[in-house]
Symmetry: C2
Subunit: 307 residues, 2 copies
């Protein structure tokens, strides 16, 4: 598994070194290029490309080298989403390094009179990384029909992700007692599940020529995995907080997490009943998520991601 | 020509009424949908889709109905670029109506404590419209090879546009005497020329099966047209200002326009020599731009756009 992660990261480094767009940026605005390089190569689990590779192998197809551009596209798309998320959330740190908007604020917003913020540079850079992700899908050694199929899946996941982000922002402006945990599960499934879990598995199905219809019992492999994945994060934050850690950022920023909506108030958030309910929901969704595949390697990777 | 514009606008209205994504948004966040609807249907020249249609016809192919999704994609992509531009520029009005970030600021940023600005909603909405543009290309009645060809052209233009936007922001932070008019022409060609002029003509070549190699004398049909198009805008602003109108927004905001770099200072900007130089450069680039085509209809449309 470490070997696969290293291979994914090698592809990222090579992309940054070789793509004409990055060469232009490195020449025209070296400081911006260095910031992007640090952001894209910051330590990460590379979960989405790893799921894709594992699912390819489960479908009897070797992802490297033919589908290396798909691996790259998934990681670039994830970075794009994180960058725009960090602008919206005004996050300063991610994966242990300053976020791209934060780095660009330090680099470029030295002169308030010029009217541009670092986040403006980060916004455009995010758009560019999104474009590079789509362009990368076109580089796969695949038929044109496979490529259009992959791009169709990709746009569908991007629509889910953006719709989830809009719903999440609206929920933050909605009184707690008007929201249900089902509302929050929809947001988790759309914003995280679709591109993190459903998309890699669906792309692998296209690459391995596996056109099997979705199992009617589990029509969308991303829903439960996405919900479980977010509940896992919520639970980690909550447990730290109960152990006298800091108030989770999401709660501080008014985010409507599953736990907060279940608890009904910030005061009830740390109660044992709330934690038990989050734990139970997480286990239930993890069980559904693991049932989507009979492949041992994929099951193991999903289990690791969700626990 | 009015008929073509009406047809393009009908397609936009139908897209907003029928696409599942917009139906979700209309149901989940009706106020956001109304704002998007107003932004996308605000009066506009629809220059990019009109260039595409005219170039299709020049190539012997009828754009409707087979390539209506390409028409739509061009207008959606343009809207995406305007929305992200309006966030960066903090523009409040565009095409006579409040910009999307401005409308969303009024709608959603009523509670400062919730941490989200209207521009955050607009940022995500822009990303979604970009995705819908790519998805629309996939709906054309064309072969998979044509579709991948169109998406490749589309991503290339998007990379140019973003690179131009980054260069423009950097130029605004660069002392005037370190910039040349050639630097500014590069920005105009990348940021505006590529997606406004080159892309529609290149897409039409794919749709009409015209694989003719680019003329070596005019390798990039967008460069001169893009420069001339921006110079026309600069000239309009300057003439208004000289006639005791307001200081052009671009100059007020520290933008490095061709005229400002040529003049060398804000004081020299209104001098007759500056206006004459802008006029001369605009005429020269317009001449090059009109030479890219022998088709009378296309030439006429370019002439209208550039004068």
């Amino acid at each position: 598994m470490q070997k696969l992660k290293a291979e994914i990261e090698r592809r990222l480094v090579r992309h940054l070194a070789e793509h004409p767009f990055w060469r232009h940026l490195a020449e025209e605005t070296p400081a911006a290029f260095a910031a992007v390089q640090e952001t894209l190569t910051a330590p990460g689990k590379r979960l989405r490309p790893r799921l894709f590779c594992q699912a390819c192998r489960a479908g009897g197809c070797e992802p490297f080298p033919s589908f290396a551009p798909v691996v790259l596209a998934l990681e670039l798309a994830h970075s794009f989403i994180l960058i725009h998320d960090d602008i919206i959330d005004r996050s300063a740190v991610r994966r242990g390094v300053p976020t791209l908007p934060e780095q660009m604020n330090r680099l470029f917003a030295k002169k308030p009179a010029d009217g541009f913020r670092g986040s403006d540079f980060a916004l455009v850079t995010g758009d560019l990384i999104y474009t590079l992700a789509i362009e990368s899908l076109l580089q796969a050694e695949a038929s044109d029909a496979q490529k259009t199929g992959m791009i169709r899946l990709f746009t569908r996941a991007a629509l889910d992700t953006g719709r989830g982000a809009l719903l999440e922002m609206r929920a933050a402006q909605t009184p707690l007692d008007e929201l249900t945990v089902e509302n929050i599960e929809t947001i988790y499934a759309l914003k995280t599940g679709s591109y993190t879990f459903a998309l890699p598995l669906q792309l692998a199905a296209v690459c391995s020529g596996n056109r099997r219809k979705p199992d009617p019992l589990f029509p969308d492999p991303g829903t439960s995995a996405g919900i479980a994945f977010q509940l896992k994060n919520d639970l980690q934050d909550l447990r730290q907080w109960v152990d006298d850690g800091p108030l989770p950022d999401d709660i501080r920023d008014g985010r409507r997490t599953w736990a907060l909506v279940y608890a009904g108030s910030r005061e009830a958030l740390g109660e044992p009943e709330t934690l038990a309910a989050v734990e139970k929901a997480k286990e239930e969704h993890t069980r559904y998520a693991l049932d989507i595949t009979a492949d041992a390697g994929l099951k193991e990777l999903l289990r690791l991601a969700l626990s």
